[in-house]
Amino acid sequence: MHENNDNAGSRLGMWLFLYTEIMLFGGLFILYSVYYSKYPAEFAAAGGKLELPLGALNTGLLLLSSFTAAASIESLRKGAQRAALGLLGSTVLLGLVFLFNKYLEWSHKFAHGIFPGSETLLKGPKGETVFYGLYFTLTGLHALHVFLGCAVLSACWVLVLKGRVTGGRMNLLENTGLYWHLVDIVWIFLFPLFYLIL
């Protein structure tokens, strides 16, 4: 079987995909900022109810997972397959812990009657409904990306284990790493928008 292994081409293709992600989340950030300028007081009231410690913990976890992803690629490049597998596995694990924390956070909100279309929200001030709409949309879309990232990283883990992805042939792992780092960057902006500035 003929194998194409065009590093530069596949990397450019990955970046092109990342641009569409930047525009997707960028558009939602614009939506957030427009509504924030319209309802500053309601955003501050609603944002103050979010759990900063959980948000900060999740920020640390994702940053750490970005490091383990980058370190796993460097290890594999140097031929250290076992180290690469350990680091890659840690990346997936950190992503899953991030998702578990997100589940806890959302459950706490649901327990207080705060979920899209809930009576509490519909009776409350309009600005707060909009805030929580954006909160669930943006963190939900981001969590979906983390979930998919974990799935693709797990596939990479298996391929590294089987020797299909190696130091000399690691396009797939590098491109998955790029995707994972972009998901991290999205969270780098989501964290201050929802947990810090309000």
Partner: protein, 96 residues
Amino acid sequence: MTEKPAEKTALSLPGLLGVLAALLSLTGLSIALAHFYEGPLRVAAALSIAAVKTGLVLVFFMHIRQAGKAVALSFLATVATLAVFIGLTFADILYR
């Protein structure tokens, strides 16, 4: 497309650890600022720190500077397009 081999430019593990330490410190700084500073530059400060963190991830984790001219230019074009969208949106809602 000219391309530098990534091996020569990639950071070693201690280097990557240093980047992680910087990212975590900036997160801490951002949280501390949000806690203690209530001034007019609150939002700008938080977003500037986020931008610096993004820069670190792009340069040291994503190796954007070694990815070739096509990636560098198209990335800048994407950011510029987003900036135009933001500018036009606010030109509309702030002055309507």
